[in-house]
């Protein structure tokens, strides 16, 4: 059953990214390019997503447990540490360079363009490097 939950949620998520236009880097760069022909679409996407998620989480997290698992896995970290800030800066630079963040890049595989694989392979390599480096500390 958890696999069904993952498939359903993943499909909805991919559909949402496609419908919203966020799977196209042109729209994302249009939002990030504040001194150019600014495209505010991403704000509408964030607004719609935040409203539904906020309302939905308020309802779901009051329940004793999820339907297909024993407990909710929700982050508990509170500290604003250097890893959070430096990681977000590095992510932001990469996001600005390509107009791809992880979800849209995976969804964009649907276009069947090999360049997307270059980005995804590099992204996985970056994740692997971070894990190796973190395990050395």
């Amino acid at each position: 059953m958890p696999l069904l939950g993952a498939l359903l949620a993943g499909t909805l998520f991919g559909l949402g990214l496609s419908v919203s236009g966020m799977s196209d880097p042109l729209r994302v760069i249009g939002f990030l390019d504040v001194t150019g022909a600014w495209d505010p679409t991403l704000l509408f996407v964030m607004g719609g997503a935040l409203l539904v998620t906020w309302l939905g989480f308020r309802w779901v997290l009051q329940r004793p447990a999820p339907l297909f698992a024993n407990s909710f896995a929700v982050p508990t970290l509170q500290a604003l540490d250097r890893r959070l800030l430096l990681g977000s800066v590095l992510f932001g630079v990469g996001w600005g360079l390509a107009g791809f963040c992880p979800g849209p890049a995976v969804t964009a595989l649907a276009a069947g363009v090999p360049d997307v694989l270059v980005f995804l392979a590099a992204m996985l390599a970056g994740m692997w490097c971070e894990a190796k480096l973190a395990s050395l500390r």
Partner: protein
Amino acid sequence: MTFSLSAALAGLAGGALIGAAAVTLMLLNGRIAGISGIAGGALLAEPGERLWRLVFLAGLVVGGLLYRLVAGDFPLHLQAGWPQLLVAGLLVGFGTRMGSGCTSGHGICGIARGSQRSLVATVTFIGTAMLTVWLLRQLGGS
């Protein structure tokens, strides 16, 4: 691609679908729909924790393919060549793991939970991305 009323409405509708996906994953599996965490876990988590993540990622592609089937087209205008995509991918992968999240995990799920960490992360990566695009424009790049 210019902004229009239809782009705003499609953005709202697509955003609501993304929210519905995040709520679905929390209601059914009790998990945060953070794509960088799910992708990283699909690669690095202990074996028993990988399959649902791979299935979720496959769902993302299925969602894209469904859209392509219905709309007849999947618009994709790449903004960078291979070398730039490579560097960007490395930074996105490394940075999202180090910072524990991306646009979905921090930007949507985290902010919706009222997490201060997620709000700070989101403001930081949006600001840095805007600065990066501005710098690229100054250099005359794409």
